[in-house]
């Protein structure tokens, strides 16, 4: 899959191996934890172990690929040694800080890491939480239950038949699928409207059988996008306002600055100008640089501008922090840097968070109008569409009209009617339009 990926130093801690009193407890294990991958990332999913139990591994060699709903991360091994135990199955999600692997000192046999049962106190009950008995497997299959969502009360945390029965009972009394609960990502910036989701008609039941279809599971990024987009639709009162902008002055200014930028190896795009004009307008109309939290509007001091970047199999929105401090050249450099690293999977998780307003730019593919979905918890998203030459009516200073050929574009902004009204949106877009049409000021 091609989503953003990066190296994150794993949290690790060393502690003595083996049970207390073990005669041979000299070896020291290094515990590899699920690393903290950003402020709001609370869990990660192991995609793949690069090493198996018993394999030798060098410090900083990649031990595992981990995905969050934001980015993919390679976890480097914190110490050289031998993989003693892998504690998490691929596909399993665990909280940040959970021990996911144990590394024994170099040259140790993998089994040496196991506590010496013969002369240690009675061994702890082995973890049986993942064992599924035949009847539990059958019931889970019949009722379409994820056994991992059921709390096991049997020996070693095993899920018993009675646990499944209790789970089914609670599901019945709660009305909606209890299985939804634990599957939610806790770093989601908004709580999903579970009742609303449950009220949706069951599409699977009414859809006619499709022949010749091929099914593939959604990638973690695809399903995160799906979830976020639907939740945004359920959360915000979407409206879209569109202005038409004459980009002639921007084109002239761009031509003027381009050679100097090219020497810095940065391609100066129209998007950089739109970003600059947007940042200026956001400073003028701070309601667009806010979030809705319950009954409150949160006005953000900084303008952290999200720039949507299309990837082969999805979309990622890296954020330019404190965009108000940057010139158009600075914005151009920042956009080029983030977009490049997004495509080469080099973004850090913190670089895809904390946005206060988003610009999306699918116009590069020729589309002229769109009604984008707001990136929650923001209240607006500006869509820059294709810039095309059109005949337009120009009014000269003396009041005479003429027809001219101008590079024109539509700026389409979706905004949240909970936070602002149509007049606010129009005023804001008017400010962006004026700044762009003035061109030279940018």
């Amino acid at each position: 899959m091609s989503s953003s990926s990066t190296n994150v130093p794993p949290a690790s801690s060393a502690s003595p191996a083996g049970a207390a009193g073990s005669a041979q407890g000299t070896a020291s294990l290094v515990f590899v934890e699920m690393p903290k991958m950003g402020i709001s990332v609370s869990e990660g999913t192991i995609l793949e172990w690069r090493k198996g139990v018993g394999d030798a591994i060098e410090a900083d060699e990649t031990l595992a690929d981990v995905t969050t709903d934001k980015v993919d991360v390679e976890i480097p091994c914190p110490a050289s040694g031998v993989v003693a135990r892998l504690l998490v199955e691929p596909g399993e999600s665990v909280d940040v800080g959970t021990v996911i692997a144990e590394i024994a000192p170099p040259g140790t046999a993998a089994t040496a890491a196991e506590p010496d049962i013969s002369d240690s106190p009675p061994a702890e009950e082995p973890d049986r939480s993942t064992f599924v008995s035949p009847v539990v497997a059958r019931m889970a299959d019949k009722h379409d239950i994820d056994v991992k969502a059921v709390t096991g009360t049997g020996v070693g945390g095993r899920v018993r038949k009675k646990d499944v029965l209790a789970f089914l009972e609670s599901k019945k009394t709660n009305g909606n699928g209890g299985a939804l609960g634990p599957a939610l990502h806790s770093d989601s910036p908004y709580e999903p409207d579970v009742a609303g989701v449950a009220d949706e008609p069951d599409v699977a039941e009414v859809a006619p059988p499709v022949t010749g279809a091929e099914r593939e599971p959604m990638s973690p990024m695809r399903s995160a996008i799906a979830r976020h987009m639907v939740e945004s639709r359920h959360t915000a009162a979407h409206c879209t306002t569109i202005v038409e902008v004459d980009m002639a002055r921007v084109a002239a200014r761009r031509a003027e600055l381009k050679p100097a930028m090219a020497r810095r190896d940065v391609s100066l795009t129209y998007l950089s100008f739109v970003a600059k004009a947007t940042v200026a307008a956001l400073a003028e109309y701070p309601v667009l640089n806010s979030s809705v939290e319950g009954e409150e509007l949160v006005h953000h001091d900084d303008i952290n501008l999200g720039i949507a970047v299309a990837l082969d199999d999805g979309l990622i929105v890296p954020v330019i922090a404190q965009a108000q401090r940057l010139s158009v050249e600075g914005l151009a450099a920042a956009i080029a840097d983030l977009a490049g690293r997004a495509r080469s999977k080099q973004l850090t998780p913190d670089e895809v968070q904390g946005g206060t307003f988003t610009i999306t730019n699918p116009g590069q593919f020729g589309a002229v109008l769109a009604t984008p979905i707001i990136n929650q918890p923001q209240v607006g998203i500006l869509d820059l569409e294709a810039i095309v030459k059109r005949p337009v009516v120009i009014t000269a200073e003396d009041g005479s009209d003429s027809i001219a050929i101008r590079p024109m574009t539509y700026l389409c902004m979706s905004w949240d009617h909970r936070a602002l009204d149509g007049a606010d949106a129009a005023r804001f877009l008017g400010a962006v339009k004026r700044a762009l049409e003035a061109g030279g000021e940018l």
Binding site: S133, P134, V135, V136, A137, R138, G154, V155, R158, R160, K161, K162
Partner: protein
């Protein structure tokens, strides 16, 4: 109804059938004037006469062989082995003749062999065995093993009326230990039907004979929702009752006093594995005597026969699983 001991219930059933049907007669060592080693037929010779209460010599092969002939000729003999252990001496007539006449010649062999079985009284290796599994390997025989006074009478009646040779295992330890209300007069319990001795949800103990009482005591002391299935009939086995309880609880302990290997428990476990695999929530366990003869020494015999504490521990393990 009247309250009878297990032993009295056997006597009552036998007496009732002998009164009802003149073709029913008894054969065995010391069953006449002496009234039987355990006094099951005490007073019978006075009521039915020596012709119907035949004192036999120490020759089990002769007892069984005579019974086979009488049965084929239309009588209904009830043979008493003084101890179940001694059936080995009459084995050939039982497994090679009685069990196969129907298949060889289409002849009914309506006879009963009463087999006082079981240990717990320092009887040692020749007077304490539970040989029921031997008969399960001999198609043509029916095998019953009542646990209650009620079933002792009802199953003996059914055994006497059955056209096939029936091995009737009466546990000596239950003779005077178990008491219960028993219907008066003619009373029959259908062979091939198990009985739910205790209703429960969490696990099932499948048992017969003395192990039923061990399970009942354990369930009462543990105070858990344990279901107890009393098989009563070992051949034919009530597979429906066994599977219904397994499907209900998903956890099974099979218990009997007989030794483990190739025992009744093994057959029940195999049935469950084949027919109820998808209903299992725990490994199926057995509580039986180990594969050794019963020792004379009381402490050693206690160590060999399943005890209440072991039954409770086996139940606890499954409940916690």
């Amino acid at each position: 109804m009247s309250e009878l001991t297990y032993l009295e219930a056997i006597s009552d059933g036998l007496r009732t059938e002998m009164r009802r049907d003149e073709t029913v007669f008894c054969m065995g060592q010391d069953i006449g004037t002496f009234g039987g080693a355990f006094k099951v037929t005490d007073g019978f010779v006075e009521e039915f006469g020596a012709e119907r209460m035949l004192d036999a010599p120490l020759a089990e092969n002769a007892i069984i062989g005579t019974a086979v002939g009488a049965a084929v000729e239309g009588l209904r003999p009830v043979c008493e082995m003084q101890f179940a252990d001694f059936i080995s001496c009459g084995f050939d007539q039982l497994v090679n003749v009685a069990a196969k006449l129907h298949y060889r010649q289409g002849l009914a062999v309506p006879m009963v062999v009463r087999l006082p079985s079981g240990g717990g009284f320092s009887g040692g290796p020749f007077h304490s065995q539970n040989p029921e599994a031997w008969f399960l390997q001999s198609p043509g025989l029916k095998v019953v093993a009542p646990a209650t006074a009620d079933d002792a009478k009802g199953l003996l009646t059914a055994a006497i009326r059955d056209p096939n040779p029936v091995c009737f295992l009466e546990h000596k330890g239950l003779y005077r230990y178990v008491k219960g209300e028993v219907p008066q007069g003619e009373y029959e319990v259908e062979i091939g039907k198990a009985r739910i001795a205790r209703e429960g949800e969490e696990m099932t103990v499948i048992a017969y004979g003395s192990a039923v009482h061990l399970a009942l005591d354990a369930a009462a002391e543990l105070d858990e929702s344990i279901e107890i299935v009393d098989l009563r009939s070992l051949c034919p086995l009530d597979t429906e009752a066994v599977l219904a309880s397994v499907r209900k609880t998903g956890k099974v302990l099979v218990a009997h006093e007989a030794t483990q290997s190739c025992g009744v428990g093994a057959e029940v476990v195999a049935l469950i594995a084949a027919e109820a695999f998808e209903d299992l929530d725990a490994p199926v366990r057995r509580l039986t005597a180990p594969d050794v003869p019963i020792p004379f020494s009381p402490p050693l015999e206690q160590a060999v026969l399943p005890q209440l504490e072991q039954m409770k521990e086996a139940c606890r393990e499954l409940l916690e699983y």
